[in-house]
């Protein structure tokens, strides 16, 4: 009887493991707060970008004088320094802000001018067609039409990790962003959005 019980138990454990193993892929809601990672996750980028976006939109200094007539400021994306211990693509942050600003109707972003060259080189490349016999020259984009940016978006993502107690560490991240008015070099807007996480001290955070 004892042997049968042990066998039954083994079968049940095996079945449980098997069933558990079947659930390999699932879509999760990162906004629910159920999934907290030591590193920066998509919800951290979302939250920081949304907060920054709301602050920029509500800033009285960033209202175009001809806003009612469709006037828009032009923004160039400058350098966002990743000063964390994780390999992250800083576009995750800037893209969300750009999309939000475009949708708000306050800013347009130039892809023709960037710190390390154009984000989209096509603006310059299409002008090389001005001697092409193949291309209808009246459709070739003219020089002197590209619009220079009014503002530059720069920033830094900083990480500070400290031991909390014997088994936990506190990881603080700071999203620091600045909008510089390029005419004067003055920062018209700055924002800092901290995120703190309590994680296990067993290993490193990356």
């Amino acid at each position: 009887m004892k042997i049968i019980n042990q066998k039954s138990c083994l079968v049940m454990v095996a079945a449980a493991l098997f069933l558990n193993g079947c659930k390999s892929t699932e879509v999760v809601d990162t906004r629910s707060g159920e999934y907290v990672t030591a590193g920066l996750s998509s919800s951290d980028f979302n939250n920081a970008a949304n907060d920054a976006l709301n602050d920029i939109i509500s800033s009285p200094l960033l209202v175009h004088p001809q806003a009612a007539q469709g006037g828009r400021y032009i923004m160039a994306v400058s350098n966002i320094i990743n000063d964390t211990s994780q390999r992250i693509d800083t576009d995750q942050l800037t893209k969300k802000i750009r999309v939000g600003l475009l949708n708000s109707g306050k800013f347009l972003t130039t892809t023709a001018i960037g710190l390390s060259g154009a984000e989209d080189e096509m603006t310059a490349r299409v002008r090389e067609l001005n001697e092409s016999k193949m291309v209808n020259q009246t459709t070739v984009k003219k020089d002197g039409q590209v619009i220079a940016p009014d503002f530059s978006l720069s920033g830094k993502i900083i990480q500070r990790t400290n031991r909390l107690d014997r088994s936990n560490q506190l990881v603080d991240y700071y999203f620091q962003l600045t909008l510089t008015q390029l005419e004067t070099g003055l920062a018209y807007w700055e924002g800092e959005y901290p995120v703190s996480k309590k994680v296990s001290n067993d290993s490193v955070t990356w």
């Binding site: 990743n82 000063d83 211990s85 994780q86 990790t161 067993d202 290993s203 490193v204």
Partner: protein, 463 residues
């Protein structure tokens, strides 16, 4: 129950006689395939050997053996293939993470296995200095590739590893104490018997000339080489004043720990950049990885074992000890300016070993006690089996001498004004021919040399 256990033990011992790999003869000895290849100037052969030993799986992009993967990563660096080197070090970090977060069941299983055999049956557990050096090498790999953004990430990782250093050692000391307590509770031998054996061992070790009293870690368990290179990165690639302050902090720390002239000169230069945080290309730093790090080697001693019967039995225990390797090249000079040491890797390794040795010793004594009791019981039951068990015990007594043997003995550095003719002459006391370097890349500010011994060709890279 005891009888049952005693009969099971030899079976396990016999079936488990293959340790992780033949490590004692292949990482550090001069006749190992690794060193034979290096001495024959066959770096590719050395890489191929290390790659095979690491169990590299190109499909899964993983390695089985962390130690050999670290050797492979460093060999690729020597070759100047920084991307492949970083790939290996990235795979190692995955293994390190698994080791750090290994659950109780896995760890317990390994420990039981090693109790019946020896420490080489445990997975190689990275030392703190291994982890710091992995991130340091990755950072300078990225810097050499011109990937400054990823180099910054690796420097932050290296910095975090250093921060964890003191915690790591404190935790390890507590863990050792707990393990000792657990072992005392678990084993058949009385607690006091193990203590008596350990006390005897200390006397015997002293008689063997093993004196670790002079071994002392750098304050805060810092690796000053990593700190120096961290400072140099933030000095050369500063984005803002905060980066220059980071560099100054690092150099101040290295000066306090080592008094190195290269660190003092670089600190002064960093301070001069406070007003304008853009480093000019006026200076050159030559970094030399010199010699070969101290190695572990095995030795055996006969210890009195105070067993349950209170009969005193003597049994052989195998233990690792450190053997410093000779300074074969001596002090370097660059354009006749003498280099100064920015870190003594031997000192870092010795301090780490000193902290771990009490646990290694107690584990080996406990293990020998278990085996000897089992052997005695088997022998009482069946003398022929007892003989076999004795044979197996002899075979399974082996010290764990694994270590990252390609690390250098020390790191030396020189800061000098950038030579007008772009030529740099690097000489050392016992280097037959000085190394001539031409600064072909106008933006190169660091010449990085690895010189192991007079038989292995030094490697030179610019970044």
């Amino acid at each position: 129950m005891k009888r049952c256990l005693a009969s099971i033990i030899p079976v396990i011992l016999l079936s488990g006689c293959v340790s992780t790999s033949d490590l004692t003869g292949s990482t550090g000895t001069s006749n190992s395939p690794l060193y034979t290849n290096l001495q024959q100037h066959n770096l590719d052969g050395a890489i191929s050997f290390a790659q095979t030993e690491s169990g590299f799986d190109p499909e899964k992009k993983s390695v089985d053996d962390q130690l050999w993967a670290m050797q492979a990563g460093l060999l690729y660096r020597m070759k100047g293939d920084f991307a492949s080197s970083t790939n290996y070090f990235d795979m190692i970090e995955d293994v390190m993470y698994s080791e750090d977060t290994e659950n109780v069941l896995e760890s317990g299983g390994e420990q039981i296995g090693s109790m019946l055999t020896n420490d080489t049956f445990l997975d190689y557990e990275q030392t703190l200095y291994d982890a710091v050096m992995v991130n340091t090498y990755k950072a300078i790999n990225f810097e050499a590739l011109g990937d400054i953004a990823n180099a910054r990430v690796e420097w932050n990782r290296s910095d975090d590893r250093q921060r964890r250093a003191a915690e790591f050692f404190a935790k390890q000391i507590n863990k050792s104490k707990e393990e000792l307590e657990n072992q005392k509770d678990d084993e058949d031998a009385e607690a006091s018997d193990i203590d008596k054996s350990v006390a005897s061992a200390n006397d015997l070790l002293a008689q063997q000339g093993i004196d670790m009293s002079g071994w002392k870690a750098y304050d805060g368990y810092v690796n000053p080489f990593s700190t120096f290179m961290h400072g140099l990165f933030f000095l050369r690639h500063a984005n803002d004043a905060a980066d220059i302050e980071k560099a100054i902090d690092s150099f101040e720390r290295v000066v306090a720990l080592t008094g190195s002239l290269a660190a003092k000169d670089t600190l002064d230069y960093a301070k001069s950049l406070r007003a304008n945080p853009t480093a000019q290309n006026d200076y050159l730093w030559v970094i030399i990885e010199n010699g070969e790090a101290t190695q572990k080697e095995a030795f055996e001693i006969n210890l009195p074992l105070y067993l349950v019967s209170s009969n005193i039995n003597y049994a052989g225990v195998a233990l690792p000890k450190l053997k410093e390797r000779e300074e074969t090249l001596g002090v370097f000079s660059v354009n006749d300016i003498q280099a100064t040491s920015v870190a003594d890797m031997d000192r870092i390794i010795q301090a780490d070993f000193k902290d771990k040795f009490p646990l290694i010793l107690t584990r080996e004594i406990t293990r020998t006690a278990i085996k000897t009791v089992a052997q005695k019981q088997i022998n009482d039951h069946n003398p022929l089996l007892g003989l076999a068990a004795g044979f197996v015990q002899g075979l399974s007594t082996e010290a764990d001498t694994r270590s990252w043997s390609l690390l250098p003995k020390n790191f030396q550095a020189v800061m000098l004004p950038r030579p007008a003719d772009g030529r740099v002459k690097i000489a050392a006391e016992h280097l037959t021919t000085p190394l001539e370097v031409e600064l072909t890349e106008p933006n190169a500010g660091v010449v990085y040399v690895k010189a192991m011994n007079p038989l292995v060709t030094p490697t030179i890279h610019l970044m």
